[in-house]
Amino acid sequence: MDSKMLRYVLKRSLLAVFTIILIITITFFVMHAVPSSPFNKQKALTESVKKALEAKYGLDKPLGQQYVQYLGNVLKLDFGDSINFRGRSVMSLVGEGFKTSGKIGLIAAMLAIVTGVVLGALAAIKRDTTLDKTILVLTTASVSLPNFVVAIILLWAFGVWWAILPTRGTDPGGLIMPVLALMLYPSAYITRLTRSSMLDVLGQDYIRTARAKGVHQKKVLFKHALKNALTPVVTYAGPMIAYIVTGSFVVEQIFSVPGLGKYFVSSIQSSDYPMIMGTTIFLSLIMIFMTFISDVIYKILDKRIDFE
């Protein structure tokens, strides 16, 4: 088992390295294929200034040479300086953005998992009651709105109408609404996931066996059923956490939160090449890492699955 697991981890790590290199390559060439330069958007630069700037960021060299140089720099963990934010390194900008986005994201993800599992298990246990139906209607409704509409409605209701929460993310308590806006969709999704897998598990023979031998209802539900019902939640939770902690542009924009999502989108729009590469690599790393973690946990939880 252990050597098998080790082999699995090794195989996945190799695949991850390969994927990252491929993502760097694709992003690099697609980014440069887009016919807009980071210096186009600024006020008319004279040809000589533009040349000098391009030389400064190494953009005057042939593309292949730039690519090789970039790969070399990545190996040295040097991601260069941002073009848009003069004099700031990509590392420090990404780190700064991630501090905020990661904090909100982790809180939102944890809350989403807890509420989702609790509500989903409740709905499954109380199947076909009013409670179950209410939960189903609410969750279906909350996955039916684009997140920026949800965020605007939250902002309007809590920030303007009742005026009980600050509307700016930088104010104290201002992160409550972004967290709410971020957690709505995943918590609804996890609720549905937990409910259906719990119903599936509750119909299995070993639950009937446990009940037949007189195991207490609580123990049946928590020890036998819930534990097994959570495996699909684990597979979903990994990528979900990765997605949420890397910041949502919409939520950060609406609640004025200085996070990673905002940097990411603005860097693409202004063709800030080093920033695009840096954020993309960072996002992909987190995504790959979280998927990997959730796969491993999934396999540990579910003994039936082989590591091959």
Binding site: L15, T19, L22, I23, I26, T27, V30, M31, A33, V34, P35, S36, T140, A141, V143, S144, L145, P146, N147, F148, V149, I152, I153, L155, W156, V160, G203, F249, V250, Q253, I254, F264, V265, I268, Q269, I276, T280, L283, S284, M287, I288, T291
Partner: protein
């Protein structure tokens, strides 16, 4: 040679039947072979179940009504989405409240003329908002349906080929899927819509029908064609893998059917329900993506509206004129909610695993 009406003498080990041991069936026995009821196919059975499901039926009705409004009403509605109402440079026509008339229109009414009311008022350029919402619904629905169609076509073909041939082909094809899966989709969408915008405005396609759609729309279709089919491909591959081992496929192979025929005639009909359900849930995803792009200002090109762009534009007027946000948001909500519920209903009706408790 004379033909005898009896069987030749049989050898002791022959399986040949001795007709004398049989007697004719009576009328009563024959009637047992009558069909009591039309035998149901898998598809008919699903439709029957779906018809019993009140929620799914009401969703279908809601969707039908929305479609009829979105595709029918603009043909006779007196206002269109692009022209500003009564007078081009009149500030007085901007942001009319619902059922309010501009001074020019009021003058016509006072002199005995008839002016169709602005049911939802007008927007910041004096365009009739109801007309914009209705046309925006049409655009959003079209985006959803076309994108879902793209996903289904590419995903089904890719998944079926990968699953059917298996082995090394499958391995390579699925690695490609894995890599596409881990590309940040927002990056690709935004990069594409920026570059497509350039191609459409300056390139050879400038002024064509494709250019009119706007860079956002075209890039959504390209992105769905490039990235979002992978989920569908995985799904179909899984189905094909499980169907492949069944006897009827072996039988088809034994009589020499070509792979393309086996996939088309024997495998796809058996996973059509899964494809159907997943396609219904693909439409909301496309509408969401479009509305996100509209929020970034990369969606449909001005003056064309979509529900997403209308909601995004209404953000600045949220406090004074909340209905500008609420109406398109409600339209999105109704469409997505109906599609989600319908998807669930379809799954309950067509998923063989869920048949009887």
């Amino acid at each position: 040679m004379e033909i005898k009406n009896e069987l030749p003498k049989k050898s002791p080990l022959s399986m040949q039947m001795d007709l004398s041991k049989f007697e004719l069936a009576t009328a009563d026995e024959k009637r047992q072979q009558d069909r009591m009821r039309e035998s149901t196919t898998f598809f008919k059975d699903g439709i029957r179940k779906l018809k019993k499901d009140k929620i799914s039926i009401s969703c279908l009705v809601v969707l039908a009504i929305i479609m009829i409004i979105a595709f029918g009403v603009p043909s006779f509605y007196p206002y269109d989405y692009a022209t500003t109402s009564a007078g081009k440079n009149s500030i007085t026509t901007n942001y009319l409240a619902p059922f309010q008339y501009s001074p020019a229109e009021q003058a016509i009414i006072d002199s005995g003329g008839h002016v169709f009311p602005h049911i939802l008022g007008t927007d910041e350029l004096g365009r009739d908002y109801a007309a914009r919402v209705i046309f925006g619904t049409r655009i959003s629905l079209l985006v959803g349906i076309i994108a879902a169609a793209i996903v289904v076509i590419i995903g089904v073909i890719y998944g079926a080929v990968s699953g059917y041939f298996g082995g090394k082909v499958d391995l390579v094809m699925m690695r490609i899927v894995d890599i596409i899966y881990s590309l940040p989709d927002m990056l690709v969408i935004i990069l594409l819509s920026v570059s497509i915008k350039d191609v459409l405005t300056n390139g050879p396609l400038a002024g064509s029908a494709v250019a009119k759609l706007g860079s956002g729309m075209v890039s959504i279709f390209v992105v769905f064609g490039l990235l979002y089919w992978v989920g569908m491909a995985r799904l179909v591959r899984g189905q094909v893998l499980s169907i492949k081992k069944q006897e009827f496929v072996l039988a088809a192979q034994a009589i020499g059917a070509k792979p393309s025929r086996i996939i088309r005639k024997h495998m796809l009909p058996n996973c059509i329900s899964v494809i159907f359900i997943s396609a219904a849930l693909q439409i909301p995803s496309a509408i969401f993506t479009e509305s996100f792009l509209s929020f970034l200002g990369l969606g449909v090109s001005i003056p064309m509206p979509s529900l997403g762009s209308l909601a995004a534009d209404a953000r600045s007027q949220m406090i004074i004129r909340p209905y500008l946000l609420i109406v398109p948001a409600l339209a999105i909500f109704l469409i997505i909610l109906s599609l989600n519920l319908l998807g669930n209903g379809l799954r309950d009706a067509f998923d063989p695993k869920l048949k009887e408790e």
